[in-house]
Each structure stands twice: as structure tokens, then as C-alpha cells.
């Protein structure tokens, strides 16, 4: 896997690079000394994994992840912020405390779950995004999201029992979603087709899709035709 090291301290990057020489499966694709630089490097190099410092001037590690469209696997490296990371709700991101113990690094690498194979190679579709809503953060695999609802310029992601808002419009999000999985049911809702449990007809030629969690989503007439095609219904 290809890694990018993001840390504002040169010696911290040197040290991590040296620790990683014992792990030939990790190739170091590059290094960034700031969040700004990392955003550009990630776009260019499309790494599989980020080693990410949290406290950096200009942009923190959290802010960097929020800026990313599609997020690779992440291991935080931090001197003291493990409490912030432990606050993660779902899909806890692994973290390494500095100075980094070689065994901990090995354990963290063994646990790395690379996102769906399509991503990492900067595929056209989102696989995983980082979501922060107030004090809570999630690393969300799109496959786990069953419904996305528009709220003005924001979108509400529904996965598990969580409903955080993200700062992206539904239209912008739709462009980056895999059309095989996600389906625009109406003006304000996108549903995950794998989460549909039942489809019923409704008055006026539309459909009502009942989702995993029991919610009924209206499918507009125009979109209903597409759904019928796809499902052969």
C-alpha cells in the first residue's frame, strides 16, 4: 500500500519513515509538512493510507480530512490527543502515540482496512468520507449509508442510528456516488438500493420504497420509471 506522511515536524516525519522501513508492504509515496500541502499531494498521489498528525498549524488533521472528497485509510499520529480520537463513534480510526512504539505501528498496520478496492486509485466514485458534526466524528463507508437527504446546502447522511449533516449539496454528492448503488428517489432524497426492502406502487404512477429502517421514501414518477427498468419491476 502507498502511504503519505503528514506532519509539520520534520524529525517526526524522519522518524516515522525510518520505522516504516521494517514494513516493506508500505511504500512511502510522499510527505507533507502542512494540511494545505497534503490536500494537493493526496489529489496527486492518491495514497492508500495517510499517517496524519492532528495538531498542525493552519489546518488540523481533522480539518484536512473534512476537506477531502474521498478519504483513504487513516492512522493518526499524535503526542497527546488520543482523547479526541477516542471520541470517534463509528469505524474508529487507529492512532499511534508519539514517540511511536514499533509494535504499535505493526499492530495498526495489520488492522488497516483499505476502503473498497475501487477507491485508492482515485476512482470516480466515493467509497469513504470523513464526517464531523459538532464534537462527533465518523469515518463513513458509503456502502453503509442507506439514505441521504437534502437540507438546504447541506446533506444529512443516514447510517446505523446516526444522522449527521455534511457540508455538501445533494447534487454535488450525487455526481460522486456510484449509480449502481445509489438512486435519486426524488428532489430531496437519495437512497441506497441495497437498503430497499420493499417497493409498492402509489397513486399517480409513483412508487414508495420501504428502507431497512422501516422508512418509506416517495419515488417520483419520472424516477420510478428508471427504478422499474433497473429492477425489472
Amino acid at each position: 500500500m502507498r502511504a503519505l506522511i503528514v506532519d509539520d515536524e520534520r524529525l517526526a516525519r524522519v522518524e516515522l519513515r525510518r520505522l516504516l522501513t521494517r514494513h516493506p508492504e508500505v511504500q512511502i509515496a510522499g510527505e507533507s509538512a502542512s494540511g494545505e500541502d497534503a490536500v494537493a499531494e493526496i489529489a496527486k498521489l492518491a495514497p492508500d493510507i495517510l499517517f496524519l498528525d492532528i495538531q498542525m498549524p493552519g489546518m488540523t488533521g481533522f480539518e484536512l480530512l473534512e476537506r477531502l472528497d474521498d478519504v483513504p485509510a487513516v492512522i493518526f499520529t499524535t503526542a497527546y490527543d488520543e482523547f479526541a480520537i477516542k471520541a470517534f463513534e463509528v469505524n474508529a480510526i487507529d492512532y499511534l502515540l508519539k514517540p511511536i512504539a514499533p509494535e504499535r505501528l505493526a499492530a495498526a498496520l495489520a488492522r488497516v482496512k483499505l476502503p473498497a478496492p475501487a477507491s485508492g486509485t482515485a476512482g470516480p466514485h466515493l467509497a469513504q468520507i470523513f464526517v464531523r458534526d459538532g464534537d462527533r466524528c465518523w469515518m463513513v463507508r458509503l456502502a453503509d449509508v442507506f439514505l441521504i437527504e437534502s437540507e438546504g446546502n447541506y446533506a444529512r447522511l443516514c447510517f446505523g442510528t446516526e444522522r449527521p449533516l455534511i457540508r455538501r449539496s445533494l447534487n454535488a454528492l450525487e455526481e460522486r456516488l456510484d449509480p449502481v448503488t445509489f438512486f435519486r428517489a426524488n428532489r430531496t432524497q437519495i437512497i441506497n438500493m441495497r437498503a430497499i426492502q420493499r417497493i409498492d406502487g402509489s397513486v399517480g404512477g409513483g412508487l414508495v420504497a420501504t428502507l431497512r429502517d422501516g422508512r418509506a421514501v416517495e419515488v417520483s414518477r419520472r424516477q420510478a420509471a428508471r427504478l422499474r427498468d433497473q429492477f425489472g419491476y
Binding site: 515536524e9 524522519v14 525510518r18 502542512s34 494545505e36 495538531q55 498549524p57 503526542a79 497527546y80 514517540p99
Partner: protein
């Protein structure tokens, strides 16, 4: 007392305003009553008698006031009852004896040797007993009134001691970001530059030792604080590389001046944490110290903005430092944080140059 807070001073003021009217009023009233009681039986001049009782009032006020001062000076009021009461009782008789002697002297002065009063030893014994009774009453009231004050005083002292312990713990605490990032950098240096890594370990040891020795009431020579800060900045220099630039402008005459321990380190730490660490391109920290006639001005100026650089944590840190200055110097030391031109912030402490213990 250096540890007196405005609260203590206010409490003392209230007590002083209460004490004098009562002290003077009670003894005057007692003497006036005594005068009228005695005047029916007294055959001599009324003026002499009045003068005698006026003297009695003045002596009583003066004597019990010195007694009060002595009780406070010796701290009898905060002793446990078994030790306090015998002392108070003995002092009542001692003061009464002095008063009796004074009355005899006054009598001799006014009425001369042939005064029937001085002749009559039983009279003198009665005066002694009567005075002892009055003094005992005074003592009982004194103990009653001071009971609450003594308790307040004890609580105030306890609170102060607790606060000092808290401040000490807070200040001596090494910033964990500094410690762990520093150790991580040293780990990296061990292979890249072993000699520098060794130097950094020594400097880190110096800082830890300096902080462990810290005491809120301690003052140390400015040169020793400068030494600790030099070590601190050298370590941060490893972390920040060329992003941290440091300049010292220290008046050599100020080297031996005593300053509160860790004061400079706290200011420098804030400058790095809230100034340099937030600037992607880094910045500089300037440490200045100059000696004035009666004070030393210690200043830490750094790149960075004030609004961004003054979150709650800094304000709490500054408030703690100010409180410590108050414990050490009363109101005579100041600490301020202010913007200095665009993109610069300075923390300035003005500390009186006096030997504090």
C-alpha cells in the same frame, strides 16, 4: 503579610471600624458609671475624682488594646482552648495588676502620700479585684466577638494554602504536547545527529528538574529562569526547526534580580503554543528583561495575533499567574497581554525589586 488578599484586607477594615467605637464607648461608659457611683461616697474634690476616672478610662482603653495586640501577635486566639484559656486568664490578672499600680500612682500624684486610699491596703485589693472583673468582662466579650473572626481567618488561611497547592500543581505541570513531541523529536535525532540528541536529553532533564523544584512562593534569580527558558526553547527549536527564531535582549544588570520561578517559562510557553505553533511559516520570540529603579520588566514578544492567540486556556493561565504574583507581591506586580503592532503580541510582567521570602 505578603499573602493578604483584598478579601482579607476588607475583613480587617470592617473589624477595625467595629472595634474602636466599642472599645472606647464601653470603657468610657464603665468609667462614667464608676464616677457617679463613687461620687456619693467621695468627700474630696469632684474634679479630682473625675480626673481620676478619666485616667482610669484612658488606661483601660490603652491597656486592653495592647493586650489585644499581644494576643494577636502571639496567635493565642487560634490555639486550642486548653492552651488559650490559661493564657487569657493570666493576662487578665497581669493587666489588672498593672492598672492597679497605675491607679495608685495617679492617686499619689493627685492626693499625695496622705491619701486615705493609698493608706488603706484593703481598698487597693478591692480596686484590683474590681479591675480584674472589668478586664475579665472585656476578655469574655473579646473572645465572643473574635470567635467568628478566628474561624473565618482559619478558613481563609486554609483556602489560600489550597489555592497555592493548586497553582503549584498547575504550573509545575509540563505541557504534555511539549514533552511527548520533544521526546519524539529526540528519538528521531538519535540516529540523525547523536550528539545533538544527547544535548537535548540533558536540556530536557534540566527543564524537568527546574519544574520539579518549583514552588509558588519561590523566587529565583532571573538568570536561572533565563537558563531554563533557553533549554526549553532549544528543545522546541528541534521540533519547529527553522520555524522558531529566538532572540534574547536581557540587561546583564537584571541577572541577579529575583523573579517568581516559572514565570518566564509560562510566558514563553504561551508564546510558542499560541503564537509560533499556529503559524505555518513560524515566527520569532523575543525575550526582554530590563531593570528600572524599583522594578524589573520582563517581556516576551512573539509573532501571532491576539484574538486568535487568547483562547480560554491562555486566559486561565494568565489569571493563575496573576494570582501568584498577588500572593508573592500583593498588588505591586502586574502582568498584561497586549497586541504590539500588526501580527505581534507581547506579555509584560513588572515585578518589584525587593527581597521577598
Amino acid at each position: 503579610m505578603t499573602g493578604e488578599s483584598p478579601d482579607d484586607a476588607a475583613r480587617r477594615n470592617r473589624r477595625a471600624r467595629f472595634y474602636w467605637p466599642v472599645q472606647i464607648g464601653a470603657w468610657t461608659a464603665y468609667s462614667v458609671i464608676g464616677f457617679f457611683a463613687a461620687s456619693s461616697r467621695y468627700q474630696g474634690s469632684r474634679t479630682d475624682l473625675a480626673a481620676g476616672y478619666a485616667c482610669y478610662a484612658v488606661y483601660s482603653i490603652a491597656l486592653t488594646d495592647s493586650l489585644r495586640r499581644e494576643i494577636r501577635r502571639r496567635g493565642w486566639r487560634t490555639m486550642r482552648p486548653g492552651k488559650m484559656w490559661p493564657r487569657l486568664l493570666a493576662s487578665v490578672f497581669a493587666v489588672s495588676a498593672v492598672q492597679t499600680v497605675l491607679i495608685v500612682i495617679v492617686n499619689l500624684a493627685f492626693a499625695g502620700r496622705q491619701s486615705p486610699f493609698v493608706e488603706d491596703k484593703i481598698q487597693i485589693a478591692f480596686v484590683f479585684l474590681g479591675t480584674s472583673g472589668a478586664m475579665a468582662m472585656w476578655m469574655i466579650y473579646y473572645v465572643m466577638f473574635t470567635a467568628r473572626w478566628a474561624r473565618d481567618e482559619q478558613q481563609a488561611q486554609l483556602k489560600l494554602a489550597l489555592r497555592e497547592a493548586q497553582l503549584r500543581a498547575l504550573e509545575a505541570q509540563i505541557n504534555p504536547h511539549f514533552l511527548f513531541n520533544g521526546l519524539n523529536s529526540i528519538r528521531g535525532l538519535v540516529i540523525e545527529n547523536p550528539a545533538r540528541a544527547q544535548d537535548m536529553i540533558t536540556r530536557l532533564s534540566n527543564i524537568l528538574r527546574h519544574n520539579l523544584r518549583h514552588d509558588v512562593r519561590h523566587t529565583v534569580p532571573l538568570s536561572s529562569e533565563i537558563g531554563a527558558v533557553t533549554d526549553y526553547l532549544a528543545l522546541e527549536g528541534v521540533r519547529f526547526d527553522e520555524r522558531l527564531r529566538v532572540r534574547f535582549e536581557v540587561d546583564p544588570a537584571a541577572a541577579d534580580v529575583k523573579v517568581p520561578s516559572l514565570l518566564l517559562q509560562t510566558l514563553v510557553e504561551n508564546a510558542v503554543k499560541h503564537g509560533i505553533a499556529r503559524l505555518p511559516a513560524g515566527g520569532d520570540v523575543v525575550i526582554r528583561a530590563s531593570l528600572l529603579a524599583h522594578s524589573v520588566v520582563v517581556e516576551v514578544e512573539n509573532s501571532g495575533g491576539l484574538t486568535e492567540a487568547a483562547p480560554e486556556a491562555t486566559q486561565v493561565g494568565l489569571a493563575n499567574t496573576r494570582e501568584r504574583l498577588r500572593i508573592l507581591y500583593g498588588g505591586r506586580a502586574t502582568l498584561s497581554l497586549a497586541a504590539r503592532g500588526v501580527g505581534r503580541v507581547a506579555a509584560t510582567a513588572i515585578i518589584p525589586v525587593t527581597a521577598t521570602t
